[in-house]
Amino acid sequence: MRNVTYVRALNEAIAEEMERDDDVFLIGEDIADCGGVFGVTAGMLRRFGRRRVWQTPISEAAFTGLAVGAAMAGLRPVCEIMYVDFATTCMDQILNQAAKLRYMSGGQLTVPLVIRTQQGGGTCEAAQHSQNFEAIFAHVPGLKVAMPATPHDAKGLLKAAIRDDNPVIFLEHKLLYETKGEIPREEYVIPLGEADIKREGDQLTLVATSRMVLHALEAADRVAGEVSVEVIDPRTIVPFDLDTVAASVEKTGRLLIVQEAWQSGGFGSEIIRRIVDRCFDSLKAPPRVHGSEDVPMPFSPSLEARVLPNPDSIASAIREIVA
């Protein structure tokens, strides 16, 4: 095993897949010369040359559309949208085109496309640079949605996403890039659709995504003497590994979902829908979502800290459910 950062893990995944398959190319803003504003594509230009690394003008709709079209034509684009917030400028390309082309063509086309972007708050970048849109992508059929929380998952899932023949929305988190974790020395791929039990427990099932997995684990530690928490990271929300979560809820009888997305209408609500349907008789307490407060992200550090879930607020949410 090696101890690497999340950004490094992503970088390795991209390099390995580019090495492996000449059809893989990169496209996005500021990705070549400086390696992306978060450094995910650092070194790619030097290693693979201009033919495979395309730094674009600020035209998300055009270059995402190009990527969709190139995928239709058989290439395997890895397209970076700098912040998920900017995906609002190319939603047609994502929701109406990429997600639907295969279906509308009666299966004649495939769209082996990865759209990488990063989301989340915690950096005082305010309302237009801190959003979490996974629920939007997950609602529209035809898109797979990955949200890795650790370097290990980031690398393995990104490799799977690049090899997948469907469009995959790959959601990184700006505050995870510098976090570290172990990854195998040898090559590995993590199939899309397999949850990972990050911590075992038997009194409450805590499903968390992206950066919230880290907070959830910390919260689980804090309450360890009082409540035995099982922390599950679905890793991809489309496909969603309901079996693993349901098995856990059947054991614990309690469910808390922690998402950084807004409390209302997030994917957590969808998990509740599915679990309530499947595990109704096992539930000892109402399953809950703990997400961000339902406001645009305020700039001020004092407000931002209040709006985001954190280990303390998660611990309280755990205690409330068990109480």
Partner: protein, 322 residues
């Protein structure tokens, strides 16, 4: 521009096929209505045949076409099978998109037809993709993208021109200015007369052509396609034309009768026929025979469509995932 006899005949045949296809499509649609079935939006290409035919005459099967909501003409000109197209209009399982697409979403990658689009302007960035792929793979394939003058107001079209020009992609943007976007006249949408200067402002050649003159379109497209194929980058062509039918089957006509009549006087098909006869490339009898042939083919296609089966309801999830 000179054009040989076989090519000329083939072009006329395709123009007639498109026109007759639209008539049959309308007929099928009305048959449906009479049975109380509403079969979505149907946008007739009648009147604009010279554009698709003049451009696609230069394209090979491996070249790509991105089409629009008004796409039957592009599909036929690109070589798509009219029986499968007709079946698609009725949502039959034998349809060109297996009944999943309908009129606005005809796909046939085998002949390079990468789809119609229900989103106005939606094809303009997608077209960059196959053009990019050709450059990436170092082959000489080109991509043509058809859209209306209404679509030319969409932002993404401009982003796409910018990228095409910047990266010298082998794409030909064909704007079919038929003077109307649904019920909006071009003068209520464009503060200018011509689109070519727009292309030039992105460093890309812009050409304007009489879209009702198939030979003019053919000549203009030859230049654009040659440029793209030989690595000379993108071109924008604005073809001035007119649609003979209302915007779609469900929106009533809103234009002046006189405007339509005037444009019917410039109907690209009789114009081309006169030329062919005048130049001795075809005789009236040959033309009449061709028409009979086309009509028979289309009647057969319509029968095929009518007789095909609807997809079994429980197959709805097919083709969602690869």
């Amino acid at each position: 521009m000179d054009i040989d006899r076989d090519e000329a005949r083939a072009m006329l045949r395709t123009m007639h096929t498109i026109r007759r296809f639209e008539l049959k499509a309308q007929h099928l649609f009305e048959e449906g209505l009479a049975r109380g079935e509403f079969l979505g939006a149907l946008h007739s290409y009648e009147g604009q045949e010279a554009v698709a035919v003049g451009v696609c005459a230069h394209l090979r099967p491996e070249d790509a076409v991105l089409s629009s909501h008004r796409g039957h003409g592009h599909a036929i000109a690109k070589g798509a099978d009219i029986r499968a197209m007709m079946a698609e209009l009725l949502g039959k399982v034998t349809g060109i998109s297996g009944g999943h697409g309908g009129s606005m979403h005809m796909f046939d990658p085998a002949v390079g037809l990468l789809g119609g689009n229900g989103i106005v302007g939606g094809g303009t960035p997608l077209a960059l993709g196959p053009a990019f792929a050709a450059q990436y793979r170092g082959n000489d394939r080109v991509t043509a993208c058809f859209f209306g003058e209404g679509a030319a107001a969409q932002g993404v079209f401009h982003e796409s021109m910018n990228l095409a020009s910047l990266w010298q992609l082998p794409v030909i943007y064909v704007c079919e200015n038929n003077l109307w976007a649904a019920t909006t006249p071009v003068n209520d949408a464009w503060p200018v007369e011509d689109l070519a200067p727009r292309a030039e402002s992105f460093g890309m050649p812009g050409m304007t052509v009489d879209g009702n003159d198939v030979l003019a379109v053919y000549a203009t497209a030859a230049e654009a396609v040659d440029r793209a194929r030989s690595g000379g980058g993108p071109t924008l062509i604005e073809a001035k034309t007119y649609r003979h039918r209302p915007h779609c089957m469900v929106i009533p006509e809103h234009r002046d009768e006189s405007e339509l009549e005037e444009w019917q006087g410039r109907d690209p098909i009789p114009r081309f026929e006169s030329y062919l006869v005048r130049e001795g490339l075809m005789t009236d009898v040959e033309i009449a025979d061709l028409l009979t042939e086309v009509e028979a083919e289309l009647e057969e296609a319509a029968q095929f469509a009518r007789q095909s089966e609807l997809p079994a309801p429980d197959t709805f999830a097919d083709h969602l995932w690869a």
